[in-house]
Subunit: 613 residues, 2 copies
């Protein structure tokens, strides 16, 4: 291979010599001086791949394929996401000894395939009886270093302290004398911890972070902001490799990042799709910056007093000229739609299904689910059932047929009227003298659920629940009825957002893909004559605003009322949310969209007498 060098490297080498002196002055801890080298550039590959939890063989093959591509592209280093080999989050699988042993064998098998490219892979290391969320540095067939994640998240959806012990020492590797700090996800979010120590004590010029950072609305922007600040603070290049893919309730959105030491975004990976991000970095920018900018913190501010240092060298192949690629900005609706598509597709496929089935009511929720499913899986894999009763409006079936035609999905029509009547006859004697109530309403929803499940069982289609977050919050849904499903695409999407996503999708289509009559009709469960959602619930914009404060922001009733909402309404909403915890506990999983989704994000007792809302 040609030992190509760029012309301007001679100039840089002088600057590096100066840098070393400067660095010694700035850094309060002594460290080995940077050896003067001609080359300040490195070609890195951030492998933004879609792993599957527990699929050790499949993940292995994907890693090897990617490794070979990175090698063919003359990269010096390739990095894979957090816990690459096991998939993320492996949860209680890591408590099985056999699993730990099996994934360590895979690590050895990967190491055996690595030549002089430095390869950073996530795995579970064990020392004595303790497990560590770890990154292995592989090169020339060996494990050159193992880093143990120091900052373990144990909040929100994360339970890492359940499984892992925290590492104790930051790691910096020197690759052809370019200093690269290796860290894992949370490590880079915590102030005055790993990243700062890597820059100060280890002299890290590149902060390489391998992540499995789940999607939430606006999280992409939060990450950019955080990493920009971190890059500026440490005067280092940040190279951030994020996982992509759906895993049960979580979606990892990718959007890996490369950020310059001045905080400028140099590169962003694809959103919701795999990408091998190959980028040339020139640490001359870092070294120049450090000559003039003093690190705005001292050793005494930090959690750590030192770093581990590991020295590697690769063949002196040069990188190209670093470029900047401005990322495309997404709207809120595009983000959410993209997250659901990926979460739904991965849940269906990774669980061995091809087709889905669900009831199409003529309402907007099931219409949006149909559209999402068609986009995620292809219309040929979407099966819908209209199941009208005597309470269904004529429009409901007509609208459903129109939607199915627009999408090109399969439609089945099965009236529940006769079966419903039979149930009422069976129960007539028992129910004698009592007015029709929620028992009869739910009965219709449960007949529909039973039919959906019969088709699911017979044809092997995954059933989808079509309810939204607003309904699920206040229990405006029937357990074992419309809540039936293996997956709930709108579980974390409010009714207000359902409308926005529908209108946005129509705008993209350029016509009323979702018929206007579906979007414009007043929401109704159609379980009794002339029923409207708004007979039982506050208007959805008001409901959703209250729910955001009560559920997502965990505010009390009095605090919400103080923000201008009617006390009676707020109290009623809060009471309904609390009362219906039992339903949510038996709900299907669905994609986390907001900063606080129902699921492992929100662990509230069912038995709960707290009234001081």
């Amino acid at each position: 291979m040609m030992n190509f060098r760029r012309q301007n490297e001679i100039v840089f080498s002088c600057q590096i010599a100066l840098n070393c002196v400067t660095l010694f002055t700035i850094f309060s801890q002594p460290f080995k001086p940077i050896k003067i080298k001609m080359n300040t550039t490195i070609r890195i590959a951030l492998a933004q791949i879609n792993t599957t939890v527990g699929d050790l063989d499949g993940n292995y093959e994907k890693i090897i394929r990617t490794l070979k591509t990175a090698r063919a592209e003359r990269c010096h280093l390739v990095a894979f996401p957090e816990l690459t080999i096991t998939g993320y989050p492996p949860e209680d699988l890591v408590l099985r000894r056999q699993f730990i042993q099996d994934q360590k064998k895979i690590l050895s098998a990967i190491a055996a395939q690595v030549d002089d490219i430095a390869c950073i892979v996530g795995f579970v290391d064990e020392s004595a009886e303790t497990l560590h969320n770890s990154a292995a540095v592989l090169q020339n067939g060996d494990i050159k270093a193992v880093y143990h994640k120091i900052e373990l998240p144990n909040y929100s959806v994360f339970d890492e302290e359940r499984y892992f012990a925290a590492g104790e020492k930051p790691l910096v590797i020197s690759l052809n004398d370019i200093l690269i700090g290796i860290s894992i996800c949370e490590d880079i979010w915590i102030p005055d911890s790993v990243a700062e120590a890597q820059a100060l004590h280890g002299g890290a010029e590149i902060l390489l972070n391998i992540s499995a950072s789940p999607f939430a609305v606006g999280k992409g922007r939060d990450r950019i902001e955080l990493l920009q600040k971190k890059a500026e603070k440490t005067a280092a290049i940040v190279a951030y490799d994020n996982l992509v893919g759906g895993q049960d309730e979580l979606v990892f959105d990718g959007q890996s990042l490369i950020i310059g030491p001045d905080g400028e975004v140099w590169r962003q990976g694809a959103a919701f799709a795999e990408e091998l991000i190959i980028h040339d970095l020139d640490v001359a920018t870092v070294r120049r910056r450090r000559r003039t900018v003093r690190l705005p913190y001292a050793a005494s501010d930090l959690k750590f007093r030192s770093c581990e240092r590991v020295k590697l060298a690769t063949e002196e192949r040069a990188a190209g000229v670093p470029q900047k690629i401005t990322p495309v900005e997404m709207t809120l609706e595009e983000e959410i739609y993209g997250a659901i598509i990926l979460g739904l597709r991965d849940y269906v496929h990774k669980n061995g299904f091809q087709q889905v089935v669900f009831g199409l009511s003529g309402g907007i929720d099931s219409a949006l689910v149909a559209t999402l499913a068609a986009d995620a899986l292809g219309p040929q894999n979407v099966n819908c059932i209209t199941m009208p009763s005597q309470h269904s409006s004529a429009g409901s079936v007509v609208d459903s047929i129109q939607l199915a035609e627009n999408l090109g999905i399969k439609m089945i029509n099965l009236s529940i009227t006769d079966i419903y009547r039979r149930y009422l006859e069976l129960l007539q004697e028992l129910f004698a003298g009592r007015e029709p109530d929620v028992a009869e309403e739910n009965l219709q929803a449960r007949i529909r659920g039973t039919i959906v499940m019969a088709l699911s069982n017979k044809f092997g289609w995954l059933p989808l629940a079509t309810g939204n977050k607003s309904e699920l919050s206040v229990g405006y849904c029937t357990i074992y009825g419309d809540m039936v499903g293996g997956f709930a695409p709108l579980k974390d999407v409010t009714k207000t957002m359902v409308y926005k996503l529908s209108n946005d999708r129509n705008a993209i289509a350029g016509f009323d893909l979702i018929p206007r009559s579906i979007i414009e009709k007043a929401p109704s469960a159609e379980l009794r004559p002339n029923q409207k959602d708004q007979d039982s619930l506050p208007p959805y914009d008001e409901l959703d605003a209250i729910l955001e404060l009560y559920v997502e922001k965990r505010q009390g009733v009095s605090s919400i009322v103080a923000q201008g909402y009617r006390a009676e309404t707020v109290q009623r909403v809060a009471r309904l949310v609390d009362l219906n915890e039992y339903k949510r506990r038996q709900a299907a999983p669905g994609v986390k969209i907001t900063h606080l989704a129902f699921g492992k994000d929100r662990r509230v007792p069912i038995t709960n007498h707290y009234k001081g809302r």
Copy 2:
């Protein structure tokens, strides 16, 4: 009040004088010498009460009532279980600011009612932005000290690191110069941590631990063994106050303990029931022991270098003569039966229900649930439905009627044959050309589930799911069918144990309360002609043995096979367990019985390709 003193105290006082000298010699850390006092006895009350999560007012009232009784009984100290005010576990309620503020107000209100009795109450303390699982020491209207739990469990069903920061200093209070170490639950389970430091650095003569330790089979014996060792090691009296009551999937079994410094059990609280355990302790035994026994550890072995010390005094009322009361031993079946009764009763009542409803199939699971429900709630609150189809044996209905008569519970008979036929007609065209399969079988179970729910909705009865752990493990149950229910009493009880509990209950009744024909018939779902469980599953004793190794012990297939089970069977069982995670995720909560129950005890991904079983 009379300042009564027992005659032998003069003798003890001499020994105490000697003790002080001895203690100074033994303890490596200096501490304030014990002031020589005549009185070495103290009357303590361990309030083994049943709190309710979030019921701040209800818990307050119970605490005050108990406090007054303890005061009337001339106790020097009364201790309440872990997180008394909030109930345990409060889970994400503690992330709400309003909740934290509200429960702190309750603490102040309790403090205001406390006179010179020392009162130890569990609550959530906050310092800066941090929460602590705490014990307040109240006396004479004040909060005299606050202890922050040091050892936070974050495994099994526990998530305490999600909520709380660990305390940093053990606490010892001096009450009339008797030294009492205060700790919370996990604190006393960890070796060389809180208890050892309290004895060594703080001179604690009594180790008072307030707990919320959930039930599991054999846990009572584990606790005795642990606390005996702890008492012997520290040469201290252990006074252990445990919570009692059901909270969602957990049952706290009470069985509070008082153990002498030689490891002898002096007293045990009731199992599965409230009790105010008033007991007189004489620390002369501790002081005598410490004169002769050297503590078998040194300061350098311990996590802590010192203790906080707080001095209190109460009126010099004397305690009586300490007595020993040998606890009654329970059999395994009695333990489990008692736990389910309490868990079921508390779930029903604490969630505002009086009556329950479920299908009685003629099989042993629903028969045992009926018996448990009648015992827990009274037969007048139990409603059963037999729902025969064309596949039901004649015996099923007859046996169910006999059982209902024996128990005195209400029985409703509703045939599903006609409705089942209507569904088949509706689906005829769609299903044409396909053999009857699991779709038709599940359909029957779902019709029954729909009927149970209709009655639940109409009459406000809580529906119970009657399935057992063996079925739920391998998915031999119908989601939205027989899995329908707000609570599942047998969720963590294997089929093998279902038989044992049934036979045991009959033995106690002295006749076949559960008809022999129900116990002796071959288990069958009766969803197709001549169906038997054992057509699809290995014999239950073999299945349960494999499940224990695979699920509870987390062993791999090869390890289980090595213990003498057929490879094909083990592989099939493991595969079924993994495949059916999605069903369990939508299952009703049920009482945790084993050391690893489905629920928050076992967090396994649904999407999971791990094959190396």
